[in-house]
Symmetry: C2
Subunit: 731 residues, 2 copies
């Protein structure tokens, strides 16, 4: 998975270097959200822009005609009036075209403003303490947020379900590694050298900005606000936005210069772009000699433990390890609220598999799922995401292998169980330029919210890259073994340098020459053998000596030998689903939010339609009226709910039932229990407002069953009498 948009490896390398191995893991938590993908909107927008330009041309022409008419000496007033009328009519048409374009470039397809919706959600979230800007009394820190009580409860429910859905269901090996990480680990993974964003500085104030943000903001601003933009220019800005993440530092700098982009806060000139490492750096221990970083992802903790985990799993593949934990990225200028933050919770799975067998025994369980996929081909040909059956996507080769497909299916089930709207969820395949060269295939679960399509889960087949990187750096082989049932005969290259002869010839350099000979590839070695058989000697380039040496036939014996092998030793491939928990939760907030019109008054009520699984509080308990009997009943029920471990809120404040409903709907509490008799209660469901009557003894077990997923509300509607008279409900 990738954190830096299409960006990162390509952007931080100059074009001439892009053929080098891309050492850095490309992962979650990018502003991919903001990277526009071709959409059906685009066509409409372009035709609207063209229509507006045509109207503008017509208005200009008619204005000119009116002016010319007026300048002529002998023209009747009627003639001029008629021409002016035409001009007016054209202007009205132009105005309407401008309005249509404006609404197309800045609004949701349903016409209601994205901004207004986002603001309504944000207001409710902040007012009810779902989240709080961290350290608010000290004016906060950009990109750091607290989860307040209901937000924290939602998060802990999401994580508990993640553990159940993935770790428990698949018997994964969960681990828990520290955030503080020594430099050598992140050097091996590539983060120390390559985990950067390009930054520019205000030349006078020194304020820092992300270079790509400035360029994107400029282009977006032009597209949204300058309605007179020619279709060609509009196409150019759109192109810039779409290739933004592929631009090298030099290309980005050139564009910033070309458009004369300045510091947005001061209008000052800005510096050329330069890379800024996004890891929080620190120092481990008192000596100052051991540099460390706060981990930018949790996966490395799993890779470095591969050997032990493989052993723990009985030296068998496949198996998966998982980790939930904090990750840290020192963003240059965090934006988009909860979507791009400096500290966040990741949940990552590393599924280790034999590269020669990526089938999955449980793939049949998900093969019939059908949902929105956005394969590479559709993206490149300007089409939109389409509904596909998972089994077919794998069998047709759209998805590289069964294991990758299995996880895509499981992620789909996970997200929709939480309450993510399946029509605003798609799985987008990475384009070739987005993927690291070693990756076999990569799909992002993208969720649509008011900020656009947000990358929330990445599911990547990263082949053997990560284990190899740590094997090389640490010198500890991170490999798996396949024991053959019967030994197999193989041809093997055997290189035997004669240490004596080499010692006589090269003295102190003997060891280096020996090592270089042993390190030859099969092709090199066979070439040398041929030359030696032919001519008796050959020149051999020894990189570590920086020169060529002459090798004679007596100095080395090279042969192909047939050997019996009892096992295959290989580096496993890793398939990695990586979840940005905070992003999923934010999208869930947007997908769950709706506004209910109150009938009796001209008032709007905010509701979160969280499923019971996710809801921060499962039910509220109210006495219908202030009375000792009802209060006691309510307390009794509260006790039994606590014993059944159902989180709930007891409200004996005595405010009106309508107000209490409004208060708890806004927290997404799915059920309200009104104590209105000494023997039974009314339970009301939040969205349907349907009510059932249940005896006081049964309340806790009904709530338990319906909130932990054993039963549904629908089951309960069948089982218990419904209650039709609304006593003081808000409607």
């Amino acid at each position: 998975m990738r954190f830096r948009t299409l960006s990162f490896s390509t952007r931080s390398l100059t074009p001439s270097k892009t053929l080098l191995p891309l050492v850095l893991r490309r992962r979650l938590v990018s502003a991919l959200s903001a990277a526009p993908s071709p959409s059906p909107m685009a066509a409409t927008e372009e035709s609207l822009r063209r229509a507006l330009a045509e109207k503008q041309t017509a208005v200009d022409a008619q204005s000119e005609a009116v002016r010319a008419l007026k300048a002529r000496p002998s023209v009747s007033k009627d003639e001029i009036d008629a021409a002016v009328e035409v001009l007016k009519a054209l202007k009205v048409e132009q105005g309407a075209a401008a309005k249509r374009l404006q609404s197309a470039v800045s609004s949701n397809s349903d016409g209601s403003s994205k901004e207004a919706f986002r603001q309504a959600v944000a207001n409710t979230l902040e007012r009810r303490l779902f989240y709080i800007p961290s350290f608010k009394i000290y004016r906060g820190v950009a990109g750091l947020y607290d989860y307040g009580p209901p937000g924290c409860a939602v998060k802990s429910n999401v994580l508990a379900f993640w553990r159940q859905h993935f770790v428990l269901e698949e018997n994964m090996l969960e681990v828990d590694c520290p955030c503080v990480t020594p430099e050598i680990v992140l050097k091996a993974s590539g983060h120390v050298d390559k985990f950067t964003d390009l930054m520019v500085k205000d030349e006078k104030t020194g304020t820092c900005y992300r270079a790509d943000h400035l360029l994107k903001d400029y282009c977006k601003g032009k597209l949204e606000k300058d309605l007179t933009l020619s279709p060609d220019k509009a196409a150019e800005f759109k192109h810039v936005i779409s290739v933004l993440d592929d631009l090298s530092s030099e290309e980005l700098g050139a564009k910033l210069k070309e458009y004369d982009i300045r510091s947005p806060d001061t209008g000052n000139h800005i510096s050329d772009p330069y890379p800024f490492n996004l890891m929080f750096q620190t120092s481990i221990g008192p000596s100052g000699m051991l540099p460390g970083y706060m981990r930018p992802e949790t996966a490395q903790g799993i890779f470095v433990n591969f050997k032990d985990l493989y052993y723990y799993n009985g030296n068998m593949l496949p198996f998966a390890a998982a980790q939930i934990g904090q990750a840290f990225r020192n963003e240059i200028s965090p934006r988009q609220g909860l979507l791009r933050v400096r500290e966040f919770t990741l949940a990552e799975i590393e599924h280790f598999v034999d590269p020669e067998d990526k089938s999955h025994p449980k793939f049949v369980d998900v093969a019939n799922l059908e949902f929105l996929m956005f394969p590479r081909e559709e993206q490149l040909s300007g089409k939109s995401a389409k509904s596909m059956i998972l089994g077919e996507a794998v069998s047709e080769g759209t998805i590289n292998n069964e294991t990758l497909g299995y996880f895509i299916g499981r992620v789909y089930l996970f997200l929709t169980s939480l309450g993510i709207d399946k029509d605003r969820l798609r799985f987008r395949q990475h384009l070739p330029n987005e993927m690291a060269h070693y990756a076999a295939d990569c799909w992002d679960a993208e969720i649509e919210c008011s900020y656009g399509w947000i990358e929330c889960v990445g599911i990547a087949d990263r082949s053997a890259y990560d284990l190899r990187a740590h094997s090389e750096k640490s010198g500890v082989p991170l490999v798996a073994h396949e024991k053959f049932s019967e030994p197999r005969e193989v041809e093997k290259l055997v290189i035997t340098p004669s240490k004596r002869e080499l010692g006589l010839a090269f003295k102190g350099n003997q060891r280096i020459v020996v090592e270089a000979l042993e390190a030859m590839s099969e092709k090199e070695a066979l070439g040398m053998k041929e030359a030696l058989d032919d001519k008796g000697e050959v020149d051999f380039q020894v990189c570590t000596l920086g020169k060529s040496v002459r090798i004679k036939k007596s100095m080395v014996s090279i042969s192909m030998e047939r050997k019996k092998e009892h096992q295959r030793v290989f580096t496993p491939s890793v398939i990695e689903p990586s979840f940005g928990i905070g992003r999923i939760i934010y999208c869930l907030f947007e997908h769950s939010f709706y506004i209910r019109q109150r009938k009796s008054e001209d008032e709007q009520l905010n509701v979160f339609r969280f499923p019971p699984l996710v809801a921060p509080i499962k039910c509220t308990v109210f006495p219908l009226i202030k009375s000792q009997q009802f209060d006691e009943g309510a307390k009794l029920i509260s006790k039994s709910l606590t014993a059944a471990r159902v989180s709930h809120k007891l409200d004996v404040t005595g405010t009106s039932i309508g107000k209490r409903y409004a208060r708890t709907d806004e927290l997404g509490v799915p059920f309200a229990i009104t104590v209105d008799s000494t023997t039974s209660v009314t339970i009301r469901e939040r969205d349907s407002k349907e009510q059932i009557r249940v005896s006081i003894e049964e309340v806790a077990s009904v709530m338990k069953e319906v909130t932990d997923g054993q039963r549904t509300w629908f089951d309960m509607l069948w089982k218990y009498p419904t209650h039709v008279t609304t006593h003081a409900d808000e409607l």
Copy 2:
């Protein structure tokens, strides 16, 4: 709660400063473990030391006698032989006395070696991946550990139970704040200035050591290894160890010099002690202008949110907020394995309460609990911890108030439910010199393990200190309000400076003088009023100006006025239970570990007797013999266990039942399900090895009930037929 041993505030301040307010929170995660408390052992050891010294004297005297005898010209061989025999006998006695002393100073009271036990536990924990030294393939980093799969599962069970036992049960407001914290917050809390340990450096190599560790190691080494130590000298070393944490930098330096303590690795001279701040420092954002730290505790995140949380709670007291999260301490030289680490999980509760009413409505629920307490008085008079009834400890005033007592009782229930042995758990009250001056009372839950008594939970009444500190620094009042049912008449001091007069007199300093006058306490103001009424003018010390000014009667009016007040505004007190989760888990490992002798062979089997609540895996499923029918039955059961959310392990490897039991006992798996028929199974309990027979359909629900605490194994023994013939059990 305190992290730095008795140490910290007193140690980092010179004696002359100890009367200043101690601004730093004293909290969990110290080596309190190592701070010896008076114990019955002490007396025995001293008498053994004295006995050994007497034997030594006797041996010396007899040696001298023998020498003198031999030097005399006319002594018979018999006479000499007799004297030598006496000497030999004395030497044997001396040897025995030395042995007794040696075993008293280095072993458990039961005589088995603590070290050997600890090593056995550690071997099992590491081999079965309960924990792994982090970044092991890169040779690790001191003080950083990973939880491997079973350790991670135990941790997540402990945290889930913590949430249930505290957050759900008490309706606490759980929050989740970032680890990255800007400097200003930790400046207000005092950590930036005072969160230090004293360090010394090897003068040649620069290696760093904790100054108190070197001194303690020296004293302990002398006490344990130098058996010829005089009782006086031994008492001196013991005294040094006991006051270690109260020593100032200078005193500590003087002791290191006096004993000529050198660098333990090189023998080089060491520097004088100097303070090292234990927070990991970093920088937030790209500018380098916003210093930050990784939080050393989670509590500050709650304090800075007090205002919002109070509002969320309907502006009512008392209420509690809670947080589980990572905390970081850059230890100078981490030791004691999992007990002193550089990154760890804290679970903290801040219970906000009216300082005038610290009663607790649910105190009755815990008042009858009886357990080991170690009040201040017992510690100071050299007695040991004693069993007390909680209700009496509060009513007698030993524990300051009901709320504090309530939490002590809840902590006791929490720890013992996890499996902590109640006989190795005590609640130790802080001595006056350990507590911050503002704290009303403080108790540590200490658990005894092979390292001694370890501070695992701190329960402190911290009064209003923390909220006041952040109010002052941020300028945001963090206060609560009590509305009076009827307005109350109060006398209030009114100070009205005349700005005009003061401006004429003090020009540019006017504002400073006005503020100083307004800030006067009631006593100061009334004193000034009297003086002004008397003499017409008075000298007034203005700290912020650094000098005295002369105040005339015309410059200020001071009076006591009767006013009606409708509410009381006050800073709440906070009662803080703070849990070192890693320490609790480590102690739990030790308390749960035992070795079972295998009857049939001469082999020892390791067992963790985790209660089902804590066990990393709840049950294993084995087919009795390799057969398709049994394998299918086992898979079916595994599916139903997954559906019931019971973590389990399916083992179809076909190794002997005895070996499989041994393997899972070592992971602390409480139940083993053997599939030995197509209709029913045998369930075996780990510790008693009792077995029952249950039908295949019922297995999952039996396991669910017995592992989530609805039923006990004992209930099941009654309900289901027991199975007496052991089929291939290990015995």
